[in-house]
Subunit: 177 residues, 2 copies
Amino acid sequence: MSFEQLRHKPLVALERPRELVIACAPLRSNVNLSRIARAAGCMGVRKLIACGAAKVIQKIARNSVDEGDGEIADGDEPGLEISVHRTLAPVLRDLRTDGYRLVALEQTTNSRSIFDFRFERKTALVVGNERSGIDEESLRLVHDVVEIPMYGLPYALNVGTATSMALYEYCRQFPSG
Amino acid sequence: MSFEQLRHKPLVALERPRELVIACAPLRSNVNLSRIARAAGCMGVRKLIACGAAKVIQKIARNSVDEGDGEIADGDEPGLEISVHRTLAPVLRDLRTDGYRLVALEQTTNSRSIFDFRFERKTALVVGNERSGIDEESLRLVHDVVEIPMYGLPYALNVGTATSMALYEYCRQFPSG
């Protein structure tokens, strides 16, 4: 079998818009937020909710973000929409009202391995702060907690890496949206 | 269901050492290499091969890397061993000789979606440069090429993000090593 590089391969078309929303607690690092934005854009996610002093760094996020006029320079696909809120819990209450299944990425009592978890299509993936994770009030609002098994040092994934893995798993379960 | 944060949860024990090796082409960014090292350490990978002017940044990789004396400060687990070579192709020849299945992460002719791909346990995951990907000589040496489907802008994942997703998929298929 021969393999030749293909640059700019056509995108995989989704049969319907992704119903996954990513909701981030206030993060320490806008680098991490921007990496999450880039991964989310690539995977066809339409909505990222950030909290606190969040600002996407375009050099890292690349052109994943819809600038708000609905026009993307080099294509017709809608980009990722990012909204910024002060704190996480009110965001989660709104998402619950809108019918999202709230799935937190965290290590908690009663958390389940992501390897065995079936996502619902309409899911909000809830991501915690790099140091403090997801606050108690927010944890009381989520339906499920999933964790990525840890096998070795340094015992904790970077928040952008962990979010990307969970995003991958969701997309694996819903390859067509 | 109630969820309370657990810090420093015990590691998941592997039934056997991971037989996954990650082999990276010369990368532009030691930040990316270091993020791969951190993710690999967390997932129990024992061996990362870097090429070119590779240097792991400990602040990013955290304490994933075995410093060579076999002693890790806060545990008995062996850490990740990193070796650095000049170029990728000779590394791949050696891995082939050692019986590894060489799986490149790239978009090529004949590449397959990672969603449908079954890894062999003894696999070397081959990762390309941020801009130029995997060179032709190296592509001639691999057995398979897998790609992560792209659904939207900016059309290309960061190399550390893509590697983390592929690493996740391998571990999902071999949760106990």
